[in-house]
Symmetry: C2
Subunit: 196 residues, 2 copies
């Protein structure tokens, strides 16, 4: 039996991930997760509201870390530069935690209900990131756009990292933000500039 | 009673949207939607699998239109330029359909289960857009990144249009892609270029 609440929580997460990999999310029950973790099912529900949430335990920490890193980023950076700083730091946590992070992302990618939850978490995180940019006095509209496209870029980089583990997540993040710059070279013919 | 299947379908969509606005999505039943549309509940389920899907009827058409417009875009455009062309054309359909599109987006924004469905549809659409770019010989990695960030930019523009209806959706789309260009000015110090 695990001795502490934190240890039980960590074992539940590991047990859930293993079972989702072995037999799929849909065919795994909370009772089975608890059994593999060496706790009873009541303990599972003391830590997690359902078997989806067990894979999203780090999201609140990630959100808090990102908003703090946005606040702490050096002055004088463009909004996407601020986000690049913040995502690189957040990426280190993922990289340190790769043995869990990589199979987790793979399970999510192939399980529709987990993908839905992941997308909802991503949308909430995008809003928190936009708000953190506004606190740096980025204008409302640009803050929203930077948060959405910056998050999309980070998500792209994380997927690329899972597919190509020979390079670090940090390398993929730098590459993705550099590619975004290349992709965003002027696309509007001069006569089609929007009214200002 | 509506005479044709197409007319019943259209009335069901209108009835559902009205009821979701009046009393909220959660407090509306499929029987009530059917009654307001002047059909029976069996007819509802002949057209839609559930009361969420009734608001996403146009997604397959939108996806088909977008992929076709990507294929048809002029040669020599950057990937985001191709997407700007395609989103502007798709935007016209939304604009023509504003009396339905605007309250639909407002209902989705305030209903978590509808937002989840909307995000899942957006993710599927992003994949279709990436595939359409690959068919134009855009390299795999850039196609994925352009699709994700282009879709994020279009989504941002559509939300801005709902909040500020004094300007057309097309103006918001042009503005958003122009802003993305501004946001993406170099953010990497020269010494931090990724390895190639």
């Amino acid at each position: 039996m695990p001795r502490s609440g934190a240890e039980a929580r960590s074992r539940l997460k590991q047990a859930a991930l293993e079972l989702y990999q072995e037999r799929g999310f849909d065919r795994t029950t909370t009772a089975e997760i608890a059994a593999r973790a060496g706790v009873n099912e009541r303990t599972f529900f003391r830590h997690f509201p359902d078997k989806r949430e067990v894979l999203f335990d780090g999201e609140a920490d990630l959100c808090a870390a990102l908003t703090q890193e946005i606040a702490d980023a050096p002055d004088g950076l463009q909004p996407l530069g601020v986000l690049l700083c913040a995502f690189r730091k957040a990426g280190r946590v993922l990289e340190d935690n790769r043995p869990f992070a990589e199979p987790r992302m793979a399970v999510i990618a192939r399980t529709p209900v987990l993908r839905e939850r992941d997308l909802a978490k991503g949308a909430a995180l995008t809003e928190a990131v936009a708000e953190a940019l506004r606190l740096r006095h980025v204008p409302d509209r640009l803050a929203d756009l930077a948060a959405r496209t910056g998050w999309a870029t980070f998500h792209h980089a994380a997927q690329a990292w899972i597919a190509d583990s020979a390079r670090s997540l940090d390398t993929h993040v730098l590459q993705a933000f550099d590619d975004l710059h290349t992709l965003s070279e002027p696309v509007l013919p001069a006569q089609e500039q929007p009214e200002s």
